[in-house]
């Protein structure tokens, strides 16, 4: 048989068919990149906030406002300064948060307005309940403006609340420095490195070592242990799984400060690193909290994976379509929080709308008859990892050619 040309059932040479498929994949890859770029540019040029109306609300006695970069100085009818308003920016859960803080000439906060945010409404309901903006108002600018110190923490929306307080501090420092000419001491930034970061690093290392193991029994035990730790620590305790919002935040360029968001960098950087260098994705199969939960439910009935051959291609493209729509939507609207559709927060934080609860219940019931239904048919991360793998393959091929 050596040297014979093996023809496929369609009568086509497999090599030619492979070449055709590669060409097709490359075209799809380039179209995807082009569309994402268009969405990114659209988002970049179409978002913008007019701040002045907010300034006039915060400084009601002002008849003239001087604009000095991010600082607004309000003058009264007699020409005296009636107050200052400054814009502060800090990363939130799903992108930058901008807050306008009004300060009177004596250095007291007279009001604050959230002028831009990307967070999901659920987080802001929690912030509203804690009356965080109300807590900021009335304090002297020398206050700490820190959660757990002079401001109450917001359980379940820590990142959003920290974004607001951090942006507030930035606005106040700007006013103190450039408006009141009484600079505040520089802000101390400590690196946040705790249980979630340590757990994540250990899981990455264990996942990397684990998938290279030859002893199948031990490998299975390690994997089950990791799945359990992932579900409990990254899921139920910290509610910090990898989401499509993180990918969109990353692509939008809303990179948070690393000192406070080391976990974000470890999660995104880790997945990028292992999928580009090792071409393996330990996250999904070894410690994804939601995947672990589905697997746990599947164990009740010993449900197996079900992927009928005739639908496999269509379902794969549907999953890619959902993920790609989420990315385009997030980039075009510059709203990563709105694009995500994973039911992670509903399960791990017991927080969600009726639709999200229905979605979660359907997935849980489906897990009784199918192995990881969300991961296999709907999760946007699988296509993201595929996409990275495809780019990696393309680069390797190009390097070989050149």
């Amino acid at each position: 048989m050596t040297g014979d040309i093996i023809l496929s059932s369609s009568g086509e040479n497999p090599k030619t068919r492979q070449q055709k498929q590669n060409r097709y994949r490359m075209i799809v890859l380039f179209i995807s990149i082009f569309l994402a770029l268009v969405a990114w540019l659209y988002g970049y040029f179409s978002t913008g906030i007019d701040v002045l109306p907010f300034v006039s609300e915060l400084l009601p006695g002002a008849v003239q406002i001087d604009v000095n970069s991010r600082l607004y100085i309000g003058y009264g009818e007699d020409g005296s300064v009636v107050g200052y308003a400054a814009v502060g920016e800090a990363p939130g859960y799903a992108g930058p948060i901008e807050i306008l803080v009004g300060i009177d000439p004596d250095g007291k906060v007279i009001g604050a307005k959230l002028i831009q945010e990307r967070e999901s409404p659920g987080f802001f309901r929690l912030i509203e309940d804690a009356d965080l903006i109300g807590q900021i108002t009335g304090k002297p600018m020398s206050s700490n403006f820190r959660l757990g110190e002079d401001l109450d923490g917001v359980s379940g929306a820590t990142l959003s609340a920290e974004g607001i307080t951090s942006a507030t501090r930035e606005a106040i420092r700007l006013t103190a420095r450039e408006g009141l000419d009484t600079p505040l001491p520089p802000e101390k930034k400590s690196i946040k490195f705790g249980i979630p970061e340590i757990t994540l690093l250990l899981l990455y290392v264990a996942g990397y070592v684990g998938h290279k193991m030859r002893n199948r029994g031990l490998k299975k035990k390690i994997r089950l242990g990791m799945l359990f730790i992932g579900m409990v620590v990254l899921g139920f305790i910290y509610t910090a799984p990898f989401t499509i919002s993180m990918v969109i935040t990353f692509l939008s360029g809303y990179w948070p400060d690393w000192q406070n968001n080391l976990y974000w960098y470890l999660l995104i950087g880790g997945i990028l690193f292992v999928t580009t260098v090792d071409a393996k994705n330990p996250y999904c199969s070894w410690f994804c909290p939601f995947g672990s939960f589905q697997e746990l439910v599947s164990k009740i009935t010993n449900a197996r994976i079900y992927k009928p051959r005739k639908w496999r291609g269509a379902f794969a493209w549907l999953q890619r379509g959902l993920a790609f729509t989420a990315v385009l939507m997030g980039l075009a609207l510059r709203n990563p929080g709105a694009a995500g559709y994973e039911p992670f927060a509903t399960l791990f934080d017991l927080r969600g709308t009726i639709v999200q609860w229905v979605f979660l219940l359907i997935i849980i019931f489906s897990s009784l008859v199918m192995y990881r239904p969300f991961c296999n048919y709907l999760c946007p991360l699988d296509p993201v990892v595929d996409f990275i793998g495809e780019c990696r393959r393309l680069i390797i091929e190009m390097r070989k050619k050149w």
Binding site: P308, A338, V355
Partner: protein
């Protein structure tokens, strides 16, 4: 024959699961984009297009606004606020 019909039932259930899930994902996007205005605090700008509250502009347009340095954040207003605190 029995085996075949069971397989078809599983297949049908799978198709229903995927179809219902896609519809629910669509609803979630709709919810997120349109926002739940009743539940959002007044200082939060929803993700949907904002309605123009012209009175705000009337007020500040009467003022004398002087950009003192290079940066002027206000270009053509793309979005306008509805909230008041």
């Amino acid at each position: 024959m029995v085996k075949k019909s069971r397989l078809n039932l599983r297949e049908m259930l799978l198709l229903i699961f995927v179809a219902v899930s896609v519809v629910l994902v669509g609803f979630q996007w709709g919810e997120a984009l349109l926002g739940e205005e009743d539940n959002i605090p007044d200082y939060v700008r929803p993700t949907a297009a904002f309605e123009v509250d012209e009175s705000l502009y009337d007020n500040w347009n009467q003022m004398d606004v002087t950009p003192t340095l290079h940066h002027q954040r206000t270009q053509e207003p793309k979005t306008t606020p509805t909230s008041s605190q």
